[in-house]
C-alpha cells in the first residue's frame, strides 16, 4: 500500500457525522458537476456567438448572393424577409442556435451538399490521423520526458529539450513537405498523398469511416496495408508535435516529483532507480498528464488543418482550406464550429477526468 493510499485509508476511518453519510457525500460532487455542465453549455453558446458574429462581419451580402445584384428592390426585400435577415440581431442569433442544434449548418456553395453531411463524411479521416498521431506522441513523448528528467542536464536531456522547442518552431506544413520529399520521393518507404491507392478507393464498405478499421472489418488486407502506408507519414508528422509537447510537460512534471522528499526517501531505502522513476515519481503525474494529452489531442486537430492539404488527406482540414479559398462561408463556419466544439469537448472531458481521478480536485 503506497503512502497516498494509506493517507486516503486513514481519512476514511474518520467517522462521518451521521447526516452526511451515503448519498449526502456525493452531493457537493454532483453540485460541482452541475456547475461544470453550465460552464460547458456557456462555452458552446459562446462558440456559436463567435461563428454567428463572424458570419455577420462578412462583407458579402447574403441576400445579394441569393437573388443576384440585378434583382428589383421588392424581390430583394422579400428574400431578406424570407431569410429572416430583417429581424433584430438577437432574434437572428436565437434562430441560428436553433438551426445548428437541429443539425442544420447551411449549404456549401462549392460541394452543393448540406455542410453537416459534408462534415460527417470528412471528419473520420481527420479523426483517424489525429488518433494515430496522439498514440505516437504518447508512446514516445512520455518515456522521453521521464528519461530527460531522470538525467537532468545530460546530453540526452539537452537533445530532448531542443526537440521539445522544435515542436514550437517548425511549421507543420513544412515538416509534412520535407517528410514527403525524403520518405516518399527519395527513399520510397511510405506511400504518397491520399488515404489509399486510387485503384483501391471505395473497395471496402464504409462502416466507421476509419479506413484502418473498415478494411480490417472487411478483411481486405491489401486495402489495410495501403492505408497504413499512406497514414503513417502524416500521423508521424502530427505525432512529432504531440511528442514534443507531451515530452516537455512530462519532463517538467517529473522534475517536480523527483525533487520531493518521498523520492529521496525511496532512494535512501535502496529502491531501484527504475522503480523510483515509474512507481514513485510517475504515478502522481498520471492525472495531470491526462490533461496534457487531452490538450495535445485537441491541438492535433488544429495541426491537421495545415498538413491535410499537403497529403491530399480528405479530412476536415482539407475541406476547410478549400472552403476558405472559395469564400464558402457556410462551410468555413460549419468546420470552425465542429473543430471548435471538438476542441472544447476534449478539453472539458480531460478537465472532468481530472476532477474525478484527482481526489484533491473534488
Amino acid at each position: 500500500m503506497s503512502l497516498d493510499q494509506q493517507a486516503v485509508a486513514a481519512l476514511d476511518r474518520i467517522p462521518n457525522p451521521p447526516s452526511s453519510s451515503g448519498p449526502g457525500r456525493m452531493l457537493p460532487f454532483l453540485r460541482g458537476l452541475g456547475g461544470f455542465a453550465a460552464t460547458v453549455a456557456f462555452t458552446f453558446l459562446g462558440l456559436l456567438a463567435i461563428t454567428f458574429f463572424i458570419g455577420r462581419v462578412v462583407p458579402i451580402d447574403p441576400v445579394l448572393a441569393v437573388v443576384g445584384d440585378r434583382a428589383p428592390q421588392a424581390v430583394y426585400e422579400q428574400a431578406k424577409v424570407e431569410m429572416g435577415l430583417d429581424r433584430p440581431l438577437p432574434m437572428q442569433f436565437v434562430s441560428y442556435v436553433g438551426k445548428v442544434l437541429s443539425g442544420d449548418l447551411g449549404k456549401s456553395v462549392s460541394t452543393n451538399n448540406p455542410v453537416a453531411t459534408d462534415l460527417a463524411r470528412v471528419f473520420p479521416a481527420t479523426l483517424e490521423m489525429a488518433t494515430l498521431g496522439i498514440i505516437i506522441g504518447v508512446l514516445l513523448g512520455v518515456p522521453m520526458g521521464v528519461m530527460a528528467a531522470s538525467r537532468q542536464g545530460s546530453l540526452t536531456d539537452q537533445v530532448i529539450r531542443v526537440v521539445g522547442l522544435l515542436g514550437y518552431s517548425v511549421p507543420a506544413f513544412w515538416l509534412g513537405l520535407v517528410g514527403l520529399a525524403v520518405f516518399y520521393a527519395h527513399f520510397g518507404w511510405v506511400s504518397g498523398p491520399g488515404r489509399v491507392e486510387i485503384y483501391l478507393d471505395g473497395m471496402v464498405p464504409t462502416v466507421t469511416g476509419l479506413l484502418l478499421v473498415d478494411s480490417l472489418v472487411a478483411g481486405d488486407m491489401e486495402v489495410f496495408r495501403s492505408a497504413v502506408s499512406h497514414i503513417i507519414l502524416p500521423a508521424a508528422v502530427l505525432g512529432f508535435f504531440s511528442l514534443a509537447y507531451i515530452g516537455r510537460m512530462t519532463r517538467s512534471f517529473m522534475l517536480d516529483q523527483l525533487n520531493q522528499e518521498f523520492v529521496t526517501t525511496a532512494r535512501v531505502k535502496g529502491v531501484p532507480e527504475r522503480v523510483v522513476l515509474w512507481r514513485h515519481a510517475f504515478k502522481p503525474i498520471r492525472v495531470p498528464l491526462i490533461t496534457v494529452i487531452g490538450l495535445s489531442y485537441a491541438g492535433l486537430l488544429e495541426g491537421s488543418v495545415m498538413i491535410e492539404t499537403i497529403f491530399s488527406w480528405p479530412g476536415i482540414g482539407n475541406y476547410l482550406t478549400v472552403a476558405l479559398l472559395n469564400a464558402d462561408m457556410n462551410a468555413v463556419l460549419g468546420s470552425t464550429l465542429v473543430i471548435g466544439a471538438v476542441f472544447v469537448g476534449i478539453n472539458k472531458l480531460s478537465d472532468l477526468s481530472y476532477r474525478i481521478l484527482d481526489p484533491r480536485a473534488r
Binding site: 462558440l47 522547442l165 514550437y168 506544413f173 513537405l177 520529399a181 488544429e302 476547410l320 482550406t321 468555413v332
Partner: protein, 301 residues
C-alpha cells in the same frame, strides 16, 4: 568602466533612473549566463538587423523575375537557389524578414495592450465586470487559435493587414488571463489602498500602479508567443490568405515550392529554415527571460 558598473549595481540608487538602469543591467547579466538565451537574443537581433538592412544584405531584387535563371540549385551566385520565376531565394528570404517582423510587432502591439487592459480591469473591479470580461475571454481561449484566425481572415478577406488583425484577435485572450491573475495578487495590497485613499481614480490606479507591475510577465508571455504568431502567420500565407504575391512572405514561398518539392527541394525548404530559426530564437529568448524575470516559474522548468 569599473565606476559605471559600480554605479549600476549600487545597492542604494540615488535616483529612479539609476535604479531602473541597474535593474536592466542585472537582467542582462543574468541573461548572459544562460547560453540558450544568448543564442536566442543573437537570432532575434539578427532578424532585426536583416529586416532593417535588407537591401544591403540581399544579393538581388526579391521581386525581379528572370526566367532564364529559373529553378537553379543553390550555388555561389544564388546561395539558396532560385524559384520558378528565376527570383533569388536568398534575397526573398532576407526581404521576407521584414514582413515577418512587421506581423510579429503589430500583433504584439495590438494584442498585448488589449489583453493587459481587459485583464487588469476585470481583476481590479471584480464582480460582474470580472465575470463578463473573463467569460468572453474564456470563450475566445477555448477556440483553437489557428482556426479562429482562419475564420476571421475568411470573413475579413485575404491580405496581410487582415491576417494581422485576425492573429491579434486570436492572441489577446491569453494576455488578459495573465494580467487578471497578476492584478488579483496585488489588488488588495497596502500600496494600492494607499493610492486609493489619496483619492486616485480607478483609471489612475490601473494605469499608473497596476499595469506597470504586469509588464514583466507580459514581456515573457509575448516573447514565448512570438513563435506561435510566426507559425500562424506563415500558415495563413501558406494557405493563401496572408501576404499576397509577389510579396516574399515565407509561408507563401513554401506554398509555391510545393509543386517542386521532389526535384527542386530548395524552393520550399529554404524559407522553412528561416521560419524555424527565427521561431527557435524567440523560444530560447523567452525561456531565458522567464528564468530571469520570473524565478518562481523558472525553477519549475
Amino acid at each position: 568602466m569599473a565606476n559605471v558598473t559600480d554605479w549600476l549595481l549600487d545597492d542604494s540608487p540615488a535616483s529612479r533612473m539609476q535604479a531602473r538602469l541597474g535593474r536592466t543591467y542585472r537582467i542582462v547579466l543574468a541573461l548572459a549566463k544562460n547560453p540558450l538565451a544568448v543564442v536566442g537574443a543573437i537570432i532575434v537581433a539578427l532578424l532585426i538587423v536583416t529586416a532593417l538592412a535588407a537591401p544591403l544584405i540581399a544579393t538581388a531584387d526579391p521581386i525581379a523575375q528572370n526566367l532564364s535563371q529559373r529553378l537553379l540549385p543553390p550555388s555561389a551566385d544564388h546561395w539558396m537557389g532560385t524559384d520558378e520565376l528565376g527570383r533569388d531565394i536568398w534575397s526573398r528570404v532576407v526581404f521576407g524578414s521584414r514582413i515577418t517582423l512587421t506581423i510579429v510587432l503589430l500583433v504584439a502591439v495590438i494584442a498585448a495592450p488589449v489583453g493587459l487592459v481587459v485583464g487588469a480591469v476585470a481583476g481590479y473591479f471584480g464582480g460582474w465586470t470580472d465575470r463578463i470580461l473573463m467569460g468572453i475571454t474564456d470563450i475566445f481561449l477555448s477556440m483553437p487559435k489557428l482556426i479562429l484566425a482562419l475564420a476571421f481572415v475568411a470573413a475579413l478577406g485575404p491580405g496581410i493587414q487582415n491576417a494581422i488583425i485576425a492573429i491579434a484577435i486570436a492572441a489577446w485572450p491569453s494576455y488578459a488571463r495573465i494580467a487578471r491573475a497578476e492584478t488579483l495578487t496585488f489588488r488588495n495590497s497596502e500600496f494600492i489602498a494607499a493610492v486609493q485613499l489619496q483619492g486616485a481614480s480607478a483609471t489612475r490606479v490601473i494605469g499608473r500602479h497596476i499595469l506597470p507591475l504586469c509588464t514583466s510577465s507580459m514581456i515573457i508571455r509575448v516573447t514565448l508567443d512570438m513563435a506561435g504568431i510566426i507559425l500562424t502567420a506563415a500558415g495563413l500565407g501558406f494557405i493563401g490568405l496572408g501576404a499576397q504575391p509577389p510579396l516574399p512572405e515565407w509561408g507563401a514561398m513554401i506554398s509555391r515550392g510545393r509543386t517542386f518539392i521532389v526535384d527542386q527541394w530548395w524552393v520550399a525548404t529554404m524559407p522553412g529554415f528561416a521560419i524555424i530559426l527565427v521561431s527557435l530564437g524567440f523560444c530560447f529568448l523567452g525561456d531565458g527571460l522567464r528564468d530571469v524575470l520570473d524565478p518562481k516559474q523558472g525553477e519549475k522548468q
